[in-house]
């Protein structure tokens, strides 16, 4: 692969990551959000795939396939199952911050990410590390979704966005953090999502709806 193609493909995949993160902020229908999240999983897997092709690494290629299955297949499917159980309430009705302000916040977060990531890029300038601020932006947007959304499922998507961003940074800075650790991390994330999905179901059983505004039993 020539340098130009590599850089262009890399930037394309990163663009996909960023675009899908912003789309999650923009759309309110939970079904659409889950589909966008699955698309982001594809972009993430493509990113790792490009890196694998660049380094002609079979191991990294296998990781890319694993990521595709987990992030674009299993996790969206789990989210979708939780959504189907939720019944008619399919929209994020009242986010704490409205859409226009959210998109503005995303722009600010992107600037922040670029400012913070300066030392990361400076340590080893390369096409891959130049894309690190994109990963950091996705992390920050995920955090933003997590704190401003009220539905349990939207928060879950925020958590997963955060996680996609972290994974992207992991592969952009080095070729991952070792296969064993990578596996452990993926397993932990999968289990955390399973736990949260079970809790969403239990919440619906006990509270009626998985709207986190209903969570006010515990306070001081």
């Amino acid at each position: 692969m020539s340098d130009t193609t590599y850089t262009q493909l890399l930037d394309l995949a990163c663009g996909g990551l960023l675009l899908t993160a912003v789309l999650v902020l923009w759309r309110r229908e939970l079904a659409v959000i889950i589909r966008v999240f699955a698309l982001q999983g594809v972009a993430l897997a493509a990113l790792v795939g490009v890196l694998a092709a660049r380094e002609s690494s079979v191991e990294l290629g296998a990781v890319a396939v694993g990521l595709l299955v987990l992030r674009a297949g299993v996790l969206p499917w789990l989210l979708y199952r939780a959504l189907v159980g939720a019944g008619p309430a399919l929209r994020e009705t009242r986010p704490l911050v409205n859409v226009a302000a959210s998109l503005l916040a995303a722009a600010v977060l992107a600037l922040l990410a670029y400012a913070v990531a300066q030392p990361l890029v400076a340590l080893a300038p390369a096409p891959a590390t130049h894309a690190v601020p994109v990963g950091l932006t996705v992390v920050l947007i995920g955090f933003f979704v997590l704190v401003t959304r009220r539905r349990a499922l939207s928060q879950l998507v925020g958590f997963l966005l955060l996680d996609n961003g972290i994974t992207a940074i992991g592969f952009l800075t080095t070729s991952g953090i070792g296969l064993l650790v990578e596996l452990g991390v993926s397993l932990d994330v999968l289990l955390a999502v399973l736990v949260l999905q079970i809790l969403t179901t239990r919440m619906r059983e006990t509270f009626g709806e998985a709207d986190l505004d209903e969570l006010r039993e515990l306070h001081d």
Partner: protein, 492 residues
């Protein structure tokens, strides 16, 4: 001793979990949990003797146990033994009251054993990646324990717990990845293992390391219950079943703090002591102030104990900020003393909840007259917690304060001590309202209170006695504490 012996603290609880999985909860298996915890404690003591000569590694370098890990294993074993010894009585009372069945009791025991295994793995891990996996595994396992009762408040607490802790720990993962990135660009291309990171710390890129360390400290600090991401702690600790609260508050917080301490060694070598010191001082003072403000008017005794845990983690953060051998040894002693005292208190609180049916402070009156032994355990437990001699918390708080004044953090230490005094006053006021006074009258008040089971009573008293004994003299522990403190100050 073969290196396989290092596996015992992880493998034994896994075996215990298998036993409960196969045989379920029955009279014959009721004490398997305590036996496995006792085994972990015994193995930890043997390992501590063994690693006095130097660190040992096992399974292809995945596990690496030094004096610090061995000390943490002892803390895990001791508090686990305390909590699991009181568990059969607790579960039997729950089953009698119809709040649990043999099935939920079996599930509880399986999860507690896996929880112990994950904590043991966290402190014996040779590298930051495995430590991260083990700490996240504790969140997943305990989520079901917190939400065990399936009431509205229990489910809410479990949700908050998983979301906030997983997010915090995700930040720690980002920090881990960035530290790995920095380590890859050192001349030695160190990985994530502690030994390699410490050895090549001075060549790490300061800019990247600074971001990584901030993320790691905040991330693992979340799991340790330090402000600003502490909101999960009072809910989770007050909703979990008593033995689980004892374990979460007594050891899990300290295991997460152990990660902060390990990161601090690397950060100090790479960036100088100033950076982590500022970070930790801010988190310490914020945690202390928050705990004090919410303790003053607290109405729920389990939440009171939970906020007290935030206070003690704040004190540990202060000790870490101070640094130096005295502060580090005091911090580790504090981990053990706080673990035992808080374990006893949460177990007693669980018993009070079972016998009175309320967790409100004002509705529990005259405990001393109705249940003298339990009231004695609560009273002495609170005295131990606020640092009255002879309990070991007194010795460790004194050590932290002395080191603080000697290190140039005088004003911060003075402020912290003032807050600690306020908290002590609040704790005594709330506890005396529960213990003293005449028993409440009214319908149902005349029914006889069931006696505290002998096994649970023995565990509670033993916990307090041990806490007092190590306060009088740390004995052979002091050598271990010095070795561990040397590791934490980077001189060994």
């Amino acid at each position: 001793m073969t290196t396989l012996f290092l596996l015992v603290p992880v493998a034994l609880p896994v075996l215990g979990a298998l036993v409960y999985l196969v045989f379920g909860w029955r009279p014959a298996t009721a004490w398997v949990s305590a036996a496995s915890a006792a085994g972990v404690l015994a193995a930890a003591i043997l390992i501590a003797v063994e690693v006095a000569a130097g660190p040992r590694t096992a399974i292809a370098g995945l596990l690496r146990v030094d004096a610090l890990s061995a000390f943490m294993l002892i803390v895990i074993g001791a508090v686990a033994l305390l909590a699991t010894a009181a568990t059969p009585a607790h579960l039997r009372a729950e089953i009698d009251a119809g709040r649990a069945t043999a099935r939920t009791a079996a599930r509880h025991s399986v999860l507690v054993q896996l929880f112990l295994a994950a904590m043991a793995l966290a402190v014996s891990a040779a590298d930051l990646g495995v430590l991260w996996i083990a700490v996240e595994a504790t969140t997943i396992v305990t989520a079901f324990l917190v939400g065990q009762r399936r009431t509205r408040s229990a489910v809410e607490a479990a949700w908050k717990y998983v979301v906030i802790c997983s997010t915090g720990i995700a930040l720690a993962l980002l920090g881990t990845i960035l530290l790995n990135y920095a380590a890859q660009h050192t001349p030695a291309t160190a990985g994530l293992d502690w030994a390699g990171l410490v050895a090549s710390a001075h060549t790490l890129d300061p800019g990247v390391t600074r971001i990584a360390v901030a993320l790691l400290v905040i991330g693992f600090g979340t799991k340790a219950g330090l402000a600003p991401l502490h909101a999960w702690l009072p809910d989770a600790h007050s909703q979990a079943p008593a033995p689980v609260s004892a374990l979460m508050s007594g050891v899990l917080l300290s295991v997460a703090f152990y990660a902060v301490l390990r990161v601090k060694v690397i950060a100090d070598a790479a960036l100088g002591t100033g950076f982590t010191r500022i970070l930790l001082v801010i988190m310490a003072l914020a945690s202390l102030l928050l705990a004090a403000s919410l303790l003053l008017a607290q109405r729920d005794y389990k939440r009171m104990l939970a906020y007290s845990s935030i206070e003690h983690m704040g004190l540990l953060a202060l000790a870490a900020a101070v640094g130096g051998p005295l502060a580090m040894a005091a911090a580790l002693l504090h981990v053990l003393g706080h673990g035992l005292a808080k374990g006893v208190l949460f177990l007693s609180a669980g018993r009070i909840l079972q016998t009175t049916g309320t967790s409100r402070i004002e509705r529990v009156r005259g405990l001393a007259a109705r249940q003298p032994l339990l009231a004695g355990c609560v009273g002495f437990g609170v005295l131990a917690l606020i640092g009255l001699p002879p309990f070991s918390v007194f010795a460790s708080e004194l050590g932290i304060a002395r080191a603080g004044f000697a290190s140039g953090l005088g004003p911060v230490t003075a402020a912290a001590l003032l807050v600690v005094l306020v908290i002590a006053a609040a704790l005594i006021a709330h506890t005396s309202r529960m213990l003293l006074g005449s028993p409440p009258e009214g319908p149902g008040a005349a029914t006889a209170v069931p006696r505290l089971p002998v096994t649970a009573g023995t565990a509670l008293v033993a916990g307090l006695v041990v806490c007092a004994a190590i306060g009088v003299s740390a004995g052979p522990l002091s050598a271990l504490l010095h070795l561990a403190a040397e590791i934490l100050t980077g001189t060994r």
